[in-house]
Amino acid sequence: MRVTLWGTRGSLGSPGAETARYGGNTSCVEVRGTDDTVLVLDAGTGIRRLGVTLPSSLRRVDVLLTHLHMDHIQGLGFFAPLYDPDVVVHIWGPASTTLNLRSRLMRYLSPPLFPVRLRELPCQLVLHEVPCGELDIGEFHISSMLIGHPGPTVGYRITTARATLAYMPDHEPALGVKQFPLPREWTSGCAVATGADLLIHDAQYSSEEYPSYIGWGHSSLVHALTFARLAEVQQFVPFHHDPAHTDEDLDRLIAEAVAAVPPTFTITPGVEGAIFELGCAEKENGKPLIA
């Protein structure tokens, strides 16, 4: 599978010279199969650029939302396939305890927040609620599981015959844990991440910042690295960068976290535009092709 990072920023789009290298677009990751199946993980502002690169021959695309916080759906209304009547767009996302997915999405995709209503979208829209057990889309076998973040939020585990991707952009597994980590059995997200070839995971805060944001649903870099080590992943991508962190800040914070928690796996900073080829025999297997 080919994994492309179209948006790596957390919370708020953060364009500017000081964030140009890591990128300012919010969460969006493309997963492309060898059979050209296209999965889109989250619909942050990065989804706009992704949408215009998709081939005109595309007839189906699946958008997998982890949750419905604004930075994960803000780009949805700007996703080109939604305006193509020949495309079937499947949107997967969590309902709440009182509202279904359609009602929750309509809160954004309706005036006054957005001029086009959900029901007015020209595409053939199909909504699915997660978690819903395991499912297959093209060559991908996908499982979703609720994870620790305010409001209903899932992590996705996407598997092919040759590789596994785990995606948890917003996740606070250390919440309330006196000595992090607990065993895998008692750690949120382990069922999603364990043994993955590539883990894309929340790493929003520094260790100094985290105590001021406990319960906001995000991880410090050190917690994220600790989680990745617990889950025994092969490669780890720190993701959902804090909007206040500049490129220089992120370089420094990642280096400090790596020094504090020596990794047993490859770390590749979540840079907008990076591409990962997983499950390939080539020498570049699992390495970012563009950084």
Partner: protein, 130 residues
Amino acid sequence: MSQKEIEVILTRQLASYLAMPTFIVDPQGTLVFYNEPAEIILGLRFDETGEMPFSEWATVFTPMDKHGTPLAPAALPLAIALGERRPAHGDFYIRGLDHVFRHIEVTAFPLIGQSDRNLGAVALFWEVNS
């Protein structure tokens, strides 16, 4: 061992901060966690016992009424919350593994997750100082 559901994990984390003795059981009735205040009642640390099946924990306290008559495990509030998926409250006596005789009140409630998933039940204990 597979990962617990997030609701159960968060309940354990809440319980680990509460001063009230708290038990968490899974849908099969297995005691999957009890907090430090509950360890005092049980007389054993969770790290020592690990999980305990229903048949074991329901009798280890020797629950009884004020006359010393043993109570059926199915009559315990936690068993009711689990089996009937409704809250239950009880007032009875126990003798824990520390052999101390205690008068306690127990409130138990089912843990029901999204999509009506049965995740088990929780019991909170109060020692009656009368």
